[in-house]
């Protein structure tokens, strides 16, 4: 009887729950899609004629470059650190996560200033190496440099995913590839990377979405991406309908790529048998060691230390004007909303993935993955779609939901779902199905099974999902700007407000507070991981 309950009745409840949750997540998008039926498309046609091709080309160029650089900064160090043991390894491992705490627009504005004519870099050269003055006096606001800067703050997604995946591949495959005649570089290229394909894909997906949705840094560098098109329709042409139409087109394109990858990998199953520390499996030649140190130090210096030093210097310059009480209040706001939203996300992701796991329903399989696609929509568009959704409630009850904390959290929940999904999904996938059967055979009820087997096994992934969600929500701008309650600022909004008013010096205290929180969380994450 017990067994029957488990098999037949429970998944139906599960199905209902998941359908309900996914509806909550997808509803704004659906309302947006229906809202855009029958709109006036003259502006859409106009944009397609004059701008979209250009915008699309530069988007693809920027995206490809960013991915290449993220790959260089993320995957290679992840391999070097996973497969060898050397002095300073743990420090590097920690530091390599940290640039994730620096929002992309802060990275771009900071380096824009650092590299500018009056910035520290050129001033230094003028002062001490006058012969190079002409060489370094360049226009640094170039799309290629933008790609490097974006990947500075986005590569940790890849790094984190690959670190986990590489250490899960296990010695079996490393031994095997050695035996089959592969040297380390070939093992990396032909075994490490293909076997980490799900992890790499999910982080590439996140990075791509971030790049597609980036607006502040991109417009500062004078690069017009597809999102610029959305904002041009909305802001300059005052045509929200066209903007949502463009967003939906982007959304559909992303869906297409997403399904393509899913379809391509559906033939493979990536569950590995062993889980061993690889760090002793390759000998450290001096050459490799030097290369490892140089690459790690360069990345950490450029992506983390330099921006931090720059911000710290700004804080000293502007110290007398800093309102520390304000910093405290904004920190409190930021931590509160980030904490609530990331807990919510982790719980819902766990629930959905777990229900998906114990039932064999096709619908569940489908929804589990698609909900993360909401990440493809620009935050501002999600914000508007939520206002659209909630304004009838406002009208009806005379009760202000828009501009309340719950709706803001709901918005974060929708938008940052994807960030929480990927570590938990890849961790779930790594555990063989046999485990489920053994749990069942031990007579555990679903919740017990979750608590006793799934929770401990995936604890690490859960912590990672939580930390990354928290850091991402803390950095969020577009949703916070449009949906926040009255008189409610976060560290990110304050940073942004100063930065776009060209007062980057004043913004530094707020951005460094973001970074500090991020660093604390990511350190916990990193320490937790190296304990394993």
């Amino acid at each position: 009887m017990e067994v029957k309950l488990f098999k037949i009745k429970k998944p139906n409840y599960g199905l209902l729950t998941v359908v309900f949750l996914s509806t909550l997540i997808i509803f704004p998008i659906i309302s947006l899609i229906f809202g855009s039926i029958g709109v006036d498309i003259s502006n859409f046609l106009y944009l397609s004629e004059y701008l979209l091709l250009d915008y699309t080309i530069s988007t693809i160029y920027l995206l490809s470059l960013t991915l290449v650089f993220s790959f260089l900064f993320g995957v290679i160090p992840a391999w070097l650190i996973s497969t060898s043991r050397f002095k300073g390894r743990r420090i590097y491992d920690l530091l390599l996560y940290l640039p994730l705490a620096i929002p992309t627009y802060i990275m771009a504005f900071s380096y824009g200033d650092i590299l500018s004519f009056s910035g520290p870099f050129q001033s230094f050269v003028r002062e001490f190496i006058p012969s190079l003055t002409k060489v370094v006096n360049q226009d640094y606001l170039q799309i290629e440099i933008l790609a490097v800067l974006l990947s500075f703050s986005l590569y940790p997604y890849l790094y984190a995913a690959c670190r986990i995946s590489f250490s899960l591949i296990g010695n079996n495959y490393i031994n095997l590839s050695k035996n089959l005649g592969l040297n380390e570089i070939n093992t990396f290229l032909r075994v490490g990377i293909p076997l980490s394909r799900p992890a790499i894909f999910s982080s590439i997906f996140l990075i791509s979405m971030e790049v597609l949705n980036e607006y502040g840094a991109v417009s500062y560098f004078g690069v017009n991406t597809y999102t610029s098109g959305i904002f041009r329709a909305w802001g300059s042409m005052a045509d929200m309908d066209t903007a949502s139409l463009l967003a939906i087109v982007l959304f559909l394109v992303v869906c297409l790529f997403f399904s393509l990858e899913k379809w391509l990998t559906s033939k493979f199953k990536y569950s590995f048998k062993s889980n061993t520390d690889l760090s002793t499996y390759y000998k450290n030649s001096n050459k490799k060691l030097i290369y490892t140190h140089i690459s790690c130090i360069t990345i950490i210096l450029a992506a983390f230390i330099i921006p931090i030093l720059y911000m710290t210097n700004n804080i000293f310059i502007d110290f007398k004007n800093i309102d520390f009480f304000d910093v405290y209040v904004l920190s409190k706001n930021t931590v509160f909303v980030s904490l609530a939203s990331s807990i919510l996300i982790v719980l819902v992701v766990l629930l959905i993935q777990y229900l998906k796991r114990i039932s064999k329903s096709k619908i569940l399989n489908f929804t589990g993955e698609t909900i993360s696609l909401t990440y493809a929509l620009p935050g501002a568009v999600i914000g508007i779609s939520l206002i659209l959704l909630f304004s009838p409630i406002n009208d009806y009850f005379g009760f202000l939901l828009i501009g309340s904390v719950p709706v803001l959290i709901y918005a974060y929940f929708i938008r940052y779902m994807a960030v929480g999904v990927s570590p938990i999904v890849s961790s779930f996938k790594k555990h063989p199905k046999k485990l489920d059967d053994s749990g069942k055979s031990l007579g555990l009820k679903p919740f017990q099974f979750f608590r006793k087997i799934f929770f401990p096994l995936n604890k690490n992934a859960i912590i990672i999902a939580f930390c990354i969600c928290f850091v991402d929500i803390m950095k969020d701008l577009p949703l916070t700007l449009i949906l926040r309650p009255f008189n409610f600022d976060t560290l990110a909004t304050q940073t942004y407000e100063y930065a776009i008013e060209e007062m980057i010096t004043k913004s530094s205290i707020y951005s460094i507070t973001i970074v500090t929180f991020g660093v604390i969380l990511l350190s916990i994450l990193s320490v937790n991981q190296s304990k394993k």
Binding site: N172, Y173, K178, L180, R190, P194, K269
Partner: protein
């Protein structure tokens, strides 16, 4: 000699050597069964051969080339050694053909067909690993190893993960694959019965020390110590005039009456005959008979003197230090 292992020593912690001065040779085309208990260092030995670990002393020489000694260490990917790992990992993202030809250039069409035929994988070439049964995965692993024409093939407990009902069939298949391919092979196992059928020679390994290395028949009949004798089959202890002798169960005949009498404790049907446990001179013996005997009934037995096995005092158990066999 094709493979020469000279005084090989291996430890992870110096005070706890895993392999103490291992010394043996293998001829070309021979199948050697390397028998030892779980955790005795068998896998470590294979890893040393394959170049996944470095040895601490001695040397490994294959086909006239030093692979590893105090000066040389040939990297794993440069050795021509095929390794079929214990749980035969296959790359999950590659199909059967791509797994087999992984890291090989494409000029091996004829050979591929041959190997696929040999391993009976012709109909499965486009399948992915998770679609294969354990036995099929096993054959892919072996095909992947032998298509490279290795000088030496290493099999690490190749049958341990298989269901017992298909084990026998697969064992025979694999034996014939290897024999037909004529590859020098070292097969690591803890199961003696696997070895009798397949191996040209058996190497018994215990406590980091080679106990005996010989043809199966010789080991069975002339075990070098008590441990080896026990590994290859059951032994009954018989003390005559204070001296210890051992008897194989199949060399004991049940007779109507003799000076050797014992009490039956249990008799159980094991197929074509009954296995009988009985108490002789306060020792528990095992013997076989065509008839069943009731518990408590008296039994007389006889045997030939030449079947009595006797060890030196230092062979009572097993060697703890390498013996000088020169």
């Amino acid at each position: 000699m094709f493979l020469k292992i000279n005084n090989l020593e291996k430890f992870y912690k110096k005070d706890r050597p895993l392999i103490k001065s291992l010394d043996f040779n293998v001829n070309k085309g021979e199948i050697v069964s390397f028998i030892g208990e779980s955790g005795s260092g068998k896998t470590t030995f294979l890893r040393c051969l394959a170049g996944l670990d470095e040895i601490n002393d001695g040397s490994i020489e294959l086909n006239g080339k030093i692979l590893n000694d105090s000066k040389t260490f040939v990297e794993s990917h440069e050795r021509k050694i095929g390794f079929v790992f214990q749980d035969y990992p296959l790359f999950p993202h590659l199909n059967v053909i791509d797994n087999i030809t992984f890291n090989l250039n494409s000029k091996l069409n004829g050979k591929l067909d041959n190997v696929l035929g040999l391993t009976g994988l012709k109909d499965l070439t486009r399948s992915f690993p998770h679609e294969l049964s354990g036995g099929e995965q096993q054959r892919v692993s072996i095909a992947r190893a032998i298509i490279r024409d290795p000088d030496l093939l290493l099999l690490d407990e190749p049958f341990s993960n298989l269901d017992s009902n298909i084990k026998l069939q697969i064992k025979n298949e694999i034996y014939s694959i290897i024999k037909n391919a004529g590859i020098t092979t070292i097969l690591v196992t803890h199961d003696v019965k696997e070895s009798f059928a397949i191996a040209d020679k058996i190497l018994i390994f215990k406590a980091g020390v080679l106990q005996q290395y010989d043809e199966p028949f010789n080991i069975y009949c002339k075990p070098s110590n008590c441990y080896c004798a026990k590994v290859l089959g059951e032994l009954n202890l018989l003390v005559i005039n204070g001296k210890k002798y051992y008897l194989r169960p199949e060399n004991i005949n049940i007779v109507n009456s003799s000076e050797y009498k014992g009490i039956v404790e249990k008799s159980s049907f094991v197929g074509k005959e009954f296995q009988i446990s009985a108490n002789f001179f306060d020792e528990k013996w095992t013997l076989f008979s065509n008839n069943s005997f009731k518990e408590g009934c008296e039994l007389s037995v006889s045997f030939k003197d030449e079947d009595l096995i006797k060890f030196d005092s230092n062979c009572e158990n097993y060697f703890t230090q390498p013996i000088d066999r020169k």
